[in-house]
């Protein structure tokens, strides 16, 4: 019989404490609410000074972007990507020589001479897993997530949704088609001449 009444008493007291907690929240709603009204109020980006010497490390995970002027086509980022969502094609070019019509600058901002013209640099953002592994091996630090340490060039962008999946493939190489075609058949000519030379050498 005693357990019967202690059960009732326990129920009443514990339920009342629970109600006191929720009532407390209602009364303190003015300063206690956590809602962020998205389109109007935005999430503050974490502060920039990430506190150690080289400012190149990137502490933001948003859309990947590439500075084509600095890219020397070394394919390190393509190899570092765990889901292989970066595709690069390059063509051999004379060292450090500008090709304006293919908007290719011969010397990078850090002064290295470019030997390769990057004809195709596509990143498929639907497959990218935002792990940021590709930004570390880059010798020129030209691939990074927008809004990171080089945010002066590219503002923060994490709202890049599209209607069509193919629009999510960002193509950074701006080399016109005919230039790419001309390099391709030049390369073919070089190959055929070399194969003839080999046959000549063998026979």
């Amino acid at each position: 019989m005693r357990k019967y009444f202690s059960n009732i008493w326990l129920t009443i007291t514990t339920l009342l404490t629970g109600m006191r907690v929720t009532l407390g929240h209602v009364l303190r709603i003015r300063k206690g609410f956590v809602t962020l009204q998205y389109p109007v109020e935005r999430w503050p980006r974490p502060e920039r000074n990430i506190g150690f010497s080289e400012d190149s490390y990137n502490v933001i995970r948003s859309r990947l972007t590439v500075d084509m002027d600095d890219c020397i086509g070394c394919l390190k980022c393509e190899r570092a990507c765990p889901v292989s969502c970066i595709k690069i094609e390059t063509e051999k070019v004379e060292k450090g020589e500008d090709i304006l019509e293919a908007n290719h600058r011969g010397v990078t901002s850090q002064g290295t001479q470019k030997r390769l013209l990057v004809t195709r640099f596509d990143i498929d953002m639907t497959e990218c897993c935002y792990c940021n592994l590709c930004t570390y091996p880059c010798p020129e630090e030209c691939i990074f997530m927008t809004g990171g340490p080089n945010s002066d060039k590219h503002g923060l962008d994490y709202e890049f949704s599209e209607y069509d999946r193919n629009d999510m493939i960002f193509r950074f190489a701006k080399v016109p088609e005919d230039i790419v075609a001309s390099y391709k058949d030049k390369k073919v000519k070089v190959e055929t001449s070399r194969t003839e030379a080999d046959e000549g050498a063998e026979s």
Binding site: V21, T22, L23, F33, V34, T35
Partner: protein, 361 residues
Amino acid sequence: MVNYFLDIFANVSWLAAMPSGTQFVLAALMTGLPLFLFVAINALIAVYAERKISAFMQDRLGPMGQGVGLHAGKWGLLQTLADALKLILKQDIIPALADRKLFILAPFIIFIAAFVAIAAMPFNQHILAADFNIGVFFILAVGSVGVIGIIMAGYSSNNKWSLYGAMRSAAQIISYEIPAALSILTVIMLTGSLQMQEIIKAQSGTIWGILPNWFIFNNPFTFLAFFLFFISGVAETNRTPFDLPEAESELVAGFHTEYSGMRWAFFFLSEYANVFIVSGITAVAFLGGWQSPISGYLDGPIWGLVWFFGKVSFLILVMMWFRWTFPRLRTDQLMRMGWKYFLPASLVNILGVGLWDLVVN
């Protein structure tokens, strides 16, 4: 209200000429339509209040309108209107293997049960759709008709989850009817009449000088009866901590899993109508309906409306408070509590009130 309108028709010449049948229908319509509009608006306000209260309890802001263009009003006021519009326009699917006739009929039965009970609800001294002399008994009787609708909905959706939901709610509502009826009995014993207006009139005046002579303060047994009735009322409207029939986390959505669009909206319309009825009866029976707390002052008809709606909305807020604080009971615990704790308590109550009445007066 109906005979009140009939008297008005009598002295208007062209209305009196009509046959008495159409006169009666016209008068009934004139009382029924505002009540229906009241129920719809009450549902809209209650849904908005529920969302705002639950948001404040959970450190959220709830529906807020901001930004430019079509949005949900200043503090999300238009949110429920937008929901209602959406529900009307939404495609309303009837499952192929469902039992079509019952499926379509179920929401209406539940709504009718809820709507008819409001007829006997006294809003103030004069506004009362139908002043039955068996008011309380009528409301309790009609209240239990809703169970048929729920079982129909559960059975006809041909879905295991809704069958579970329907069975659970049938057991729950029936087993909580009894403690509810018994605890109302204590009030009727004190007033001696079933008529709602009589019950309220019996609660005028003061007791111990300052307290209003409401039944809740009358004697300790009616004080306990107030809580018993209120909690079994919560159980009858299937709200937490007794919301087993539509337990989101287990039965997906209980008996109204297969409903969508306007049919689903009817379930919610009737749920909030039920909530209004339960709080209404509790206010009338225990908190003195349209009586003002300071007896003697501020008790004109307009003030009567204010007091009645004040008490009802306070009780509705308490119900919402329950919903966002407590976990859910299991079916067998629910039954055990209903039969082993509530029923003996209400029987002891009746005995207590009888003795108290005998001894004190």
